[in-house]
């Protein structure tokens, strides 16, 4: 970063790049998270097709594309809500920011409910985390993703609450922006999981119920 020498007396908010420390931190953190989810996805992938069969067929047969497509859509819509919340914050519209934040958290929770429903369905069919290799990798991967979504929902609701009790702390749109980056990241990880685990994972697998 070349800087032209001119007399700048840096105050305590000086930065070399003109960028926010915290925003930079979030982006670096997301880069790091790529390795985390990459390793989990890789573990699922290298074990593909090796799991013991469940009721005589591949455990991947339990994956339900219609249901998961719906939950994917819900999460995708939550990203739209999120970016609208950030946009409202940038334009100083506290009321609509609160509304969109609430909607994001709502849809995020909706996604989580879908996950819980799906997990229960699998457990009823006899697939738990310890049943076989597919159960282990599937529940671990989607479980960690779901945990990230949960943390995101709590974060958004916290911002919402803070916007009521300490509105001065949300004056800076940066806070919502940074939360938004995290939320979108969680969404794009799901894009990868949906494609790799569900769509590709279910292809070519022969199942009784087709």
């Amino acid at each position: 970063m070349a800087m032209t020498p001119h007399t700048v007396i840096p105050d305590e908010h000086y930065t070399s790049t003109g960028l926010s420390h915290r925003k930079l931190l979030m982006w670096i953190f997301l880069g790091s998270e790529c390795l985390f989810f990459g390793s989990l996805i890789a573990t699922h992938m290298v074990n593909r097709g090796k799991a013991a069969l469940l009721h005589g067929e591949s455990p991947a047969c339990l994956l339900d594309i219609p249901i998961t497509s719906t939950s994917t859509f819900v999460l995708l819509m939550s990203s739209v809500m999120m970016v609208l919340a950030v946009s409202s914050a940038e334009r100083g519209k506290l009321g609509s920011m609160r509304f969109w934040l609430f909607m994001t958290a709502l849809l995020g929770s909706g996604f989580l409910l879908f996950q819980v429903y799906e997990f229960n369905l699998f457990v009823d069919e006899g697939l738990t985390i310890g049943t076989n290799l597919f159960g282990s990798t599937f529940f671990t991967l989607t479980g960690f993703h779901g945990t990230h979504v949960t943390i995101g929902v709590i974060w958004l609701l916290s911002i919402l609450a803070i916007s009521f009790i300490r509105p001065d702390m949300v004056k800076n749109p940066l806070n919502v922006d940074i939360a938004g980056l995290y939320w979108h990241f969680v969404d794009i990880v799901w894009i990868v999981i949906f494609t790799v685990v569900y769509l590709v994972g279910r292809l070519g697998v022969e199942c009784a119920g087709a």
Partner: protein, 640 residues
């Protein structure tokens, strides 16, 4: 940053006294945090050293009965884990913490409270890991804990402590790395472009990136292992169709970048020390920096060279052998640049300089045995023998540790304001140089002669007795050197010569301020015009190219006069240590009782939210007089 005005006080009054135990517990000053890291890591170094001593005593004779086989397994596991995660990395962190802001002209790191959190999490993680000794079994599966030995049914609760301890330590390292990346990118003094940074700062940046990218992989690996052990998953269970090799791949994909995390800081230190004591700039600054960056990248492509004997197949073996051979190139480039720095220089053989030169020699020896390992058929013979033990100790003791001690001797005056005794220092160096070679060189012979590692004893007829006994003698020489160092430290506390700002006539910014630095570091943030800016303020280039002292010298400016008005430093805080404690309790509860985890969770949530609401700088200190002398009536005035 939330610059809210607090309408009411928080639950506990914000600590602002500058001295006393609480000031250390709540400190967010990078210099104090660096000191804490240094002292803690040193104590753990002694513990790791005792573990090594016990092993060497056991191996000094055939079929000695010094320790049981089970104890031996715990010793080599804990020695490795301790030295890597609890000694070398934190010693590096000690210097990152103390020096980086000073070298880039900043007042502190980007996130001071996060910095404190990193330290406390490290301390608590170290305690958690070592607590396993008191529960009957420390981990005993090797520091790399291969599957299936690491799995349920094949190993004891020690492995659970290992997992959870590493998880906690991982959080500490990650937080610190994030902090340093933002600090180095965003808090450089005006005019300090990236290519004017001291090499040590560059290496810290590369190491920090390696940490944030490699630690998630081991986090996944040990989480999967924890799940196998506690929740009945099948990740490494071959009977379920899984391959135990997945563990090895995940571990070494982390593990290889980890060894560069261990060595690059020391290489950075050497790159600082050699120019100062050769009175010459670093030869090929750009090349050295680029080589460091390239090593960081290439380090990701060599991991399976730790797995040459697992049957990867000829294609994989060849690919990793070639990449491993290639990574010797940027390393070699650095070595030649260091030699080029020495060449033609006006050398001063201070203790620090001796350690750096020793580093070059010993690390090169370790590097050569490393290249020998890269040849797959050779490695097939060397694997799991003492040849590898020799290699790793040459690079980690002769390399990383000697480099770190070079830094200790170099920066001691800056950190403490007092000089260490040079005679004792040189004695320390020679005892360690000698002792290190006595201990580890024979291991090359023992290894090629077939002595396996991680085995608690050997039979009389193997012919290994002599060199083992010889190596054990070396440990005592090393111990003697350590005692000399401790005596030096103790003596220098009261009797060490006062250091002044710049005892070494050095080149970088940290030497332009008093020793020890005032808590705000720089009274005025300097403007930087070139690399080694401080040197160029002291010296101009004469007609024959030699340095000529400039008339004004290095203008001490207002720092000498103790000014520093109206500098708003971040205020100490309770929440970092509370959050660390909460997270460690969560981890500890998973090996003991879940109620502990619940308590930890509540504590962590409380600390986290309180932290969020707490402004970085307490408003009530902003109206105080000279920085640091905040007057708080309840605490009875500012004391120094």
């Amino acid at each position: 940053m939330a610059t809210a005005s607090i309408a009411k006080r928080g639950m506990f009054a914000r600590p602002i006294a500058p001295t006393g135990l609480w000031s250390w517990i709540t400190t967010i000053d990078h210099k104090r945090i660096g000191a804490l890291y240094g002292v803690t890591a040193f104590i753990l170094f002694l513990i790791g050293g005792v573990e090594a001593l016990l092993m060497r005593l056991q191996l000094s004779q055939a079929e000695a009965g010094v320790v049981t086989p089970e104890a031996f397994n715990q010793l080599f596991t804990m020695h490795g884990t301790t030295m890597i995660f609890l000694v070398i990395m934190p010693m590096g962190a000690a210097f990152f913490n103390f020096m980086i802001p000073l070298m880039i002209g900043a007042r502190d790191v980007a996130f001071p409270r996060l910095n404190a959190f990193s330290y406390w999490t490290f301390l608590f993680g170290a305690i958690l890991l070592n607590a396993s000794f008191f529960t009957g079994s420390a981990p005993d599966v090797g520091w790399f804990a291969y599957a299936p030995l690491n799995g349920p049914g094949f190993s004891d609760t020690g492995v659970d402590y290992w997992i959870l301890g590493l998880q906690v330590l991982g959080v500490a390292s990650l937080a610190a790395a994030f902090n340093f990346i933002v600090t180095i990118i965003n808090l450089r003094a005006p005019g300090m472009s990236m290519m004017k940074l001291p090499v040590f700062v560059w290496m810290t940046l590369v190491v920090s990136f390696l940490i944030i990218l490699a630690f998630p992989v081991i986090t996944v690996a040990i989480t999967l292992l924890l799940f196998d052990r506690q929740f009945g998953t099948e990740f490494f269970n071959s009977a379920a169709g899984a391959s135990p090799l997945v563990w090895q791949h995940l571990f070494w994909a982390f593990g290889h970048p980890e060894v560069y995390i261990l060595i690059l800081p020391a290489m950075g230190i050497v790159s600082e020390v050699l120019p100062v004591f050769s009175k010459k700039p670093l030869f090929g600054y750009t090349t050295v920096v680029l080589a460091g960056i390239i090593i960081g990248f290439m380090g990701w492509g060599v991991w399976a060279h730790h797995m040459f004997v697992t049957g990867l197949g000829p294609v994989a073996n060849s690919a990793f052998a070639i990449s491993t051979m290639f990574i010797a190139v940027p390393t070699g480039i650095k070595i030649f640049n260091w030699l080029g720095t020495l060449w033609g220089g006006s050398i001063r053989f201070t203790t620090s300089m001796l350690f750096s030169i020793g580093f070059i020699l010993l690390f090169t020896i370790g590097g050569i045995s490393g290249v020998m390992h890269s040849v797959v058929p050779s490695d097939a013979q060397q694997s799991d023998t003492y040849f590898i033990v020799a290699h790793l100790h040459y690079v980690l003791f002769g390399g990383a540790l000697m480099g770190i001690f070079s830094g200790i001797y170099y920066w001691w005056p800056k950190m403490t304001g007092r000089m260490l005794n040079e005679t004792l220092g040189k004695l320390h160096f020679w005892l360690w140089f000698l002792g290190m070679n006595i201990t580890f060189f024979p291991m090359h012979f023992l290894g090629l002669d077939g002595m396996p590692r991680r085995v608690y004893t050997y039979s009389e007829g193997m012919g290994w007795d002599f060199w083992n006994a010889f190596a054990t003698v070396g440990v005592f020489v090393l111990g003697l050197g350590l005692l000399v160092f401790l005596q030096n430290v103790w003596h220098s506390r009261k009797n060490g010569e006062a250091a002044g700002n710049d005892p070494w006539d050095a080149r970088t910014l940290e030497w332009s301020i008093p020793s020890p630095p005032p808590h705000y570091n720089f009274a005025q943030i300097p403007h930087v015009y070139e690399r080694d800016d401080f040197w160029h303020k002291k010296y101009a280039e004469g007609a024959d190219g030699r340095p000529v002292r400039t008339v004004q010298g290095a203008a001490p400016s207002s720092e000498e006069h103790g000014h520093g008005h109206n500098i708003h430093m971040p205020t100490p805080s309770y929440y970092p240590i509370l959050l660390s404690a909460g997270l460690t309790l969560i981890a500890g509860g998973l090996v003991s009782h879940i109620s502990v985890s619940v308590i930890g969770g509540i504590l962590a949530l409380f600390a986290l939210y309180s932290w969020v609401f707490e402004p970085p700088t307490a408003p009530e200190t902003q109206t105080a007089g000279p920085a640091g002398h905040a007057r708080d009536k309840r605490r009875g005035g500012g004391k120094r």
